[in-house]
Amino acid sequence: MDNHHYIDEDETLYRPIYNTGKGFYALACALAAIVLFGVFMYVRQLIFGLGETGMNEPVSWGFYIINFVFFIGISHAGTLISAILRLSKAEWRRPITRMAEVITGIVLLIGGIHPIIDLGRPDRILHIFERGRLQSPLLWDVTSITAYFTASTIYLYIPLIPDIALLRDRGGRFNKLYKILAWGYDGSEKQKHVLERAINVLMVMVIPIAVSVHTIISWIFSMTLQPGWHSTIFGPYFVVGAIFSGIAALVIVMIAFRKAYHLENYLKEIHFKYLGTLLMVMSLLWFYFTFAEYLTQFYGHEPPEMRVFLYKFTGGYSPWFWLMVVCNFVIPVVFLSNKKLKTIGGILTASIAVVIGMWLERLIIIVPSLANPRLPYPTGIYVPSLTEISLLAAGISAFILGFMGFSKLFPLISVWEIKEGRRESVREVTERLNEYLPTSKHVKVIEEA
């Protein structure tokens, strides 16, 4: 293969940066309109008070906290998957990692805003830094999310540097920006060595931070005395759910942008099949945790716990509960365990179901526990208001918009890693394989050749 061939192939990855179609602008405008409407509704809520939402007593947390947990859960797609794939030297990761990391960055920003939207007095937000109590799980949360955001943006940025340098060398639009962001990277041996070391350190660091983030979010709930929340498996349960929804979101984003930017040559069916297998494993794990959680609740049969349990299984929230089970377990397992159904369309269906199901899971965890407090207080009802629904729509739109914006500035697939893969992977993998295999004359012959 000659050099000319490489440039041709990578042109596909650069094209979205330089060419923008009409459809892009139309979609961007529509999404921006939804986001602006969300902002408008939020300003209304600021003026009139949190009464604009559907929250009440005893259901004092609603959509905002659900979305917060949901979005932060999605963020685990990114960094964690990319770090694990890098760490395990999975070669098929190369076209995936960048998108995964971008998801994390954008979704963390959106998710992180949600607790502030939920505050009755957002003007006093600085009290958290001024006179915060580290004994409160909310403070642990602020700490871990800021740490995660910092680590994951750095982890997105460092592997982006060689690509920015490539863009800088091509000249044209935003050249000044690229010049600053590239930090004078020129691809010399020494620079490359430093870059790779940085990536290696970061990917090891990012995994415990990511795990801690969702564990701590689960602790907001499990540290309380509420029936249905006070559970020891909440930490791992939430982490599993987060990775689960993260993979599903990643698959959806990959399929959408593959179609929009014609990346079929980079994101092949095999990538989706591997991710689909991962998704199914997570689905089974999720079911295991859910089963363990509810069976212990049921077997213990404590009256307050049982009120929540029955509210979910047969009471007011049963349609949502069973829809969640269908979305998170039945659909993914049917679609992903069957060879005929495990096509890109099938994997997309399963992923969309999982994202919906995981949102429902957050709903199922948060609202029924609050609606059935320990004292025989009249049970609460929770119906979200227009404000809350439009802010959910705005959050999703902001995510898509952010991703589209990123794709206009930087390549969505790591160009240098693809190049490196083409150049070195085959040799490296052969060498690695030779290490695993029992030595024989035959292998040595290949090495010599």
Binding site: R121, G132, I220, M223
Partner: protein
């Protein structure tokens, strides 16, 4: 240092709800609109908890008991507050600092007695009502959590009065509004550590119980159960 507490004798309580009204007036608790009340945003620091029904269908009558903040000795609300907007004073009163509250409602979610209320909206009450405000109690802005404070402003007043008169505080100087108003004298209020006070004697009554004692929150609002005939 005294340790303030309350005991409600359910044998004497005739469920007239005078305490609920007195509390609402004393503490300038907001009156919410009908629509908001219907969706569960009624603001009451002291409310009636329905525990059962007396009699059979046509003549059934709800059995209620007054409940407010339990002023726990081990409060679960103060543990989770991120900004120390709710804290336990040395005299045992679990107090609120309204200007410090960021309105995250974590304390509401963690209160096993659902005793806290939130200011969902700004004033919805008729303007005339504002003329009747108790000037000793601050009016809470929208977006903060509030709850029973054992009429802490009355303690402040009683302390200052005693100081001005160069004497020690007497038991009857500081009484909460609900205890003061109760027509059947069912509410005892005072220092639990003073062995001579009515309330500490009631604490040793064989009928004493507290709500959800098994949670280990150690409520300082206790009850005396009804005598069986």
């Amino acid at each position: 240092m005294p340790r303030y507490g309350m005991v409600i004798d359910l044998n004497k309580c005739n469920q007239c709800e005078a305490c609920v009204t007195a509390c609402k007036l004393e503490n300038n608790v907001q009156i919410v609109s009908k629509e908001n009340a219907a969706v569960g945003r009624v603001m009451q620091w002291m409310k009636m908890l329905t525990t059962g029904y007396d009699g059979d269908y046509p003549d059934a009558r709800p059995v209620t008991m007054p409940v407010s903040c339990m002023q726990c000795d081990e409060p679960s609300c103060i543990k989770v507050c991120p900004v120390r907007a709710t804290y336990k004073r040395d005299d045992g009163i679990v107090a609120q600092i309204y200007p410090q509250c960021i309105g995250c409602r974590y304390c509401m979610a963690n209160c096993p007695y659902t005793a806290k209320v939130f200011n969902w909206f700004k004033d919805e009450q008729p303007v005339e009502y504002e003329k009747c405000y108790n000037t000793d109690v601050s009016v809470r802005p929208k977006g903060v959590v509030e709850k029973c404070t054992f009429c802490i402003h009355r303690l402040q007043k009683a302390k200052e009065l005693a100081k001005a008169e160069h004497r020690k505080m007497k038991e009857e100087d500081y009484v909460s509004a609900c205890a003061e108003v109760c027509p059947s004298k069912a509410i005892y209020f005072g220092d639990l550590d003073d062995p001579k006070s009515k309330v500490s004697k009631a604490m040793h009554d064989y009928r004493r119980f507290a709500l959800q004692e098994e949670l280990g929150t150690k409520p300082k609002l206790n009850y005396l159960s009804e005598k069986s005939e």
